[in-house]
Amino acid sequence: MLNDLLLTLPITIATVWVLVLILCEAFVHNANLTRWLTAIGFAGIIASIFLIPSPEGYAYGTMLRTGTFTNFSNFIFAVSGLLVVSISDKYLEEEEINFGEYYIILFISTIGMMLMGSAANLSVIFIGLETMSVALYTLAGMLRKDVRSNEAAMKYFLLGSFATGFFLYGIALIYGATGELALPRIAASLQTNGVSTLFWIGLSLLMIGFLFKVSAVPFHQWTPDVYEGSPTTAAAFMSTGSKAAAFSSLIIVLSNISIALPNNAVLQTAFAYIAVATMAVGNITALTQDNLKRMLAYSSIAHAGYMLVGIAAGSNEGYSGVLYYALIYTLMNVGAFGVIAVLERHRTLTNASDYAGLFKQHPLLAGLMAVFMFSLAGLPPFGGFVGKYKVFAAAVEADLTWLAIVGVLASVVSVYYYLRVVIFMFMRDPEPAPQANANATGSFALVAIAVIVFLMGIFPTEVLKLADNAMKVALK
């Protein structure tokens, strides 16, 4: 028991820390203290991943998987949480929702993500998903007096629970077809008993749940509405952490099942078509968006499409590409949302045209936004380029050259709408001057993110090696 707690140290730390946060908020009532404690909690999780990396194996029976894959995915979630906390305070104060609950709920959501990223049992994936989702539903509705935030929460809640229904029915049918809930034993049962139609139906229902969470076409309609209506910082968290969690869970399920289904041509084709549809719909709709948050929402659909290319490749190369992509996407997307959060004021200053002449007013913010836009567009030398290269290369290796070509074309289309923002910022004259004053923590975090995005584009090898290791060791 004690051993299990130590093996899953990040989750243990997070769970204990939640109690500290709640007690602190209940008795001290100071949102700023809670914010700092939350940041310390995330830093502690990151530190524990680096200082005491867990060895390969299982914890709590076969409930959780430990090892390099888990370390890498936990790192992504903790980074996402830490960055979102550090860009949040100014936005929350301006919107008058600077309450400690925001940080606590965000922290609990991360526990759900970590469970999803280290699950080895379908019931743990389900509970992790729900911990994350219930927390995110409330985060979406944080602006209680704003009808748009209410609406975002309502839509996210209803559609999310609907998707959970499919997800669970999938789990139930897989359980019926194989008699197991633990993923390794499901694979073993498939090997001995063969794969039945019932299993395929269950798997496709399960995939509907996952595709909803990563906002893949045709389960993407909620994304723009929810991201636009939610508090901007919460949208930053939803688009990065929850997406990374759903992808890491998806990788865990698929890589376990692929032991029993070595030539999974059906799965590969299905994911390839979904990836194409997701990239096409995301990028083409993003072209027509004026509101930056909606534009980033469609761009996040498109990025889910790029990551699905790596899933479609179905190899360890592809999966580690997805992991790397999830990390770099977390950095650059939190950065982009962070700049919006700094500038936005009560839902004004969110259109691309509002950013006209930003460079003259706030050269730093404009420069940072340009870095994030270039990186999201996948232009070298920024990190986004390496991520795209990695997943597309994996697709080519898996004989899906056409898919990689579609992906490259889609990213060419995406350059247009990202560059439009940059052109507004640098080439146009300011109409009413956008008033912004990033505070110290916020701007420090944004600068740090930009530097890391830049560094991960120039020196990607170390991180790539980590991502490769995560797949190689963990799932053979």
Partner: protein, 101 residues
């Protein structure tokens, strides 16, 4: 004569389908949530059926977690519905449409 496993599963599939139809066709947030509860109940029924016929207690464990999560979701959902109603005086999701293009 024993009642076969497929009877239970067919019943569960009917319930699930009814729930899905409810979500797709109804426009009141609370009715949609009731339909989602129907879907979750259908899943629970399937899980208990499998658990019985597999002589395995895992399915029933998962049913417990589903029930707990359903309760948590109900609490959050009710809170969201109330805050929405407070601001907008409607929970009819056709009238909730500021977030459009």
């Amino acid at each position: 004569m024993e009642i076969g496993m497929t009877h239970y599963l067919a019943l569960s599939a009917f319930m699930f389908t009814t729930g899905v139809i409810g979500v797709l066709t109804r426009r009141n947030a609370i009715v949609i949530f009731m339909s989602i509860e129907l879907m979750l109940n259908a899943v629970n029924l399937s899980l208990v059926t499998f658990s019985h016929y597999l002589n395995d207690v895992q399915g029933q464990m998962l049913v417990f977690f589903v029930m707990t999560v359903a309760a948590a979701e109900a609490a959050v959902g009710l809170a969201i519905v109330i805050s929405m109603f407070r601001n907008k005086q409607t929970i009819n999701i056709d009238e909730i449409n500021i977030l459009k293009y």
